[in-house]
């Protein structure tokens, strides 16, 4: 009788139990099976398919497993055989601490987590997809599907993901043909925001934009930067703004645009100072996110430009902070949490690869930060 794990074909010689630094040799199904005098499959079934063996034998197996300190089938081996990983991957452009600080991203994660919770799946976060070096690691993990959030068109990590066979759902951007993408109607939302301001009588505008290119630039965006954007969301929102401005007979291309590298109050403040510092400052600023808009309001208050009396501000997102700010922010509401949830469901429900996406509606929410110009 051998009671040792793998008495017949011992592991590599140097992994004897006498080296305390090495993890103790892992017990396998087979070792347990041998001790019990049953087959591997029987032990496997005891854990994974209770209907395949008698209740009594199953109890005996589980009991022996507990005694022997066998915690259950090795998840990696199971994955290899079954092809299921029990987790979905979330690929984020920025490092994780940044993502957690950003209310937009963390609300989105909540939505994804809702879906994971329903299905009892883990969520594997792979942040930092934008860092230049080492694109190798992204996508090199065991998951049943990837959600890629808000990557620039040029991101190498996304190419890697799409080249593989694991299903991928993209949220927001890039919008690629033949890739399932969950989006909102950015263009319509932006257009409604601009129309609202035009309707109030504004004629002099400024735009505080999300990045056009993934190069970390902050400052005035000239035609070249805007011409071939790396971020589709930015492009769509700009198109929406311009559409409304042109409807009103304005020269949309002449409206100054300040680009911010991130959606962040500090950068919004700087951008607003730039726009408000000119000789003919705008009476209305369109900001592509709420955080940027809140920065704009902060800058206006510092410069003693009353909002909305002398300056109207409209954001995008409708974060919780938008309704708490003073004045409360007029903005375009998007269903962030639902967006995450929908993406996860799309990923999990579609059996094979799909290109069918989902476009969620947005809604203009008028609050106190916008009014007719004096």
């Amino acid at each position: 009788m051998d009671d040792q794990p793998r008495a017949d074909r011992p592991r590599d010689d140097h992994s004897r139990a006498d080296d305390p630094r090495r993890p103790r040799p892992r017990l396998r199904l087979e070792d347990l099976a041998r001790r019990l005098g049953v087959s591997r499959t029987t032990v496997s079934n005891a854990f994974s398919r209770p209907d395949q063996l008698s209740a009594e034998l199953r109890a005996r197996v589980l009991d022996a497993a507990r005694q022997a300190g066998y915690a259950g089938p090795n998840p990696v081996a199971r994955m290899l055989r079954t092809g299921r990983a029990g987790a979905i991957g979330l690929v984020l452009p920025e490092p994780l601490p940044f993502a957690l600080d950003d209310p937009t991203t963390s609300e989105l994660i909540r939505g994804i987590a809702d879906a994971c919770e329903e299905r009892r799946l883990g969520l594997l976060i792979e942040p930092g997809a934008l860092r230049a070096a080492d694109p190798r690691v992204i996508g090199d993990v065991a998951v049943d599907g990837f959600i890629a959030y808000s990557l620039p068109r040029s991101a190498a990590a996304l190419q890697r993901l799409l080249a593989g066979t694991t299903p991928v759902v993209v949220i927001d951007e890039p919008r690629l043909p033949d890739v399932a993408t969950v989006t909102i109607d950015d263009r319509a939302g932006a257009r409604d925001a601009a129309r609202h301001l035009v309707g109030l009588g504004h004629r002099r505008f400024g735009i505080v934009a999300l990045p056009f290119q993934a190069d970390g630039y902050d400052g005035l965006a000239d035609a070249a930067r805007v011409a071939d954007p790396d971020y589709d969301v930015t492009a769509q929102r700009l198109a929406g703004y311009r559409e409304a401005l042109e409807e009103a007979g304005l020269d949309a291309a002449a409206v100054p645009i300040v680009e911010c590298a991130h959606s962040d109050e500090g950068l919004g403040r700087e951008a607003a100072r730039l726009l408000l510092g000119g000789t003919e400052p705008p009476t209305a600023i369109l900001a592509m996110s709420d955080r940027l808009a809140l920065g704009v309001i902060a800058a206006a208050q510092e410069l003693r430009v009353p909002v909305p009396a002398s300056l109207s501000v409209v954001g995008f997102d409708d974060l919780a902070a938008a309704s708490h700010s003073r004045p409360a922010l007029t903005t375009v509401r998007q269903p962030l949490r639902l967006k995450g949830y929908a993406a996860a469901r799309l990923l999990l429900e579609t059996p094979g690869p799909t290109a069918d996406g989902l476009d969620l509606p947005v809604e203009l929410v008028v609050r106190r930060s916008s009014a007719a110009p004096r």
Copy 2:
């Protein structure tokens, strides 16, 4: 020459590209090797050990891989063989949306993420470890190590983790022998907080506590609930409070304790109403977290009990919100982000299983919410 994947033992015939719903048959190293007329190992080396083959052949292999749509070695198979997963697991007691809303937890996650970023590892979050059913799924994923955060002693999920061979580091609790645990000096911190109030001259106290038992109870905690606590952190902090009170000659066991099921402003408010509603209300309240303390301050303001004039409040954690509140909160600072970072480092650096833990210092931060009683 055969150019088909696995020409010798073909996959299911119908899974050629003509059925768009099926995942296309995954190419293996071997298929690629056959096409190129080299061996599996050579192709493997081209991806994973560039020094093992000539640069020219490597280029040819990678080129052919790109052409064929081969995205690189299957991560699961690699894991099985190498035993490395490229990710660490974080086991949280609550569902993920809840964890993201909680500043304590999310700061901790940031710290863990810092370490993951350094090592280029993914972070696999397994939330909801406390839910009763289905303990099976926790720990049934491929990771190189687990961090378990703030679980009650009775949590079945933790037993499962410890039974396995994957290394585990526990943060905060439970404090078990032979398990590596990263803690703070909860008892000393609590003692300092209580000493501070005693030193100011307070004699009538109330305690707003974190849970003693994992049963969702809110309300006054009698001796029975306190006697055999399921949460070590709560027990330690209470011991610290009591130590300082007894030093001052007070009957610590007589100080009323209100237990809250979560660290949450709303529950802190309710708890404070309970404590302040009595005939001889306390002049000082010790709260085991900042969120609870902020709730206490909110309740005091609603009840027109001025803080700190008529009521002193001391929290625990030193969240950002503590210094922004009115009045700014006196509290015990703990290095949350460092705690997460340290746990991850401990997990990654220790080659085998360790029981060595780490105890991080805390520091009393006196602000405006505490003063001498009238």
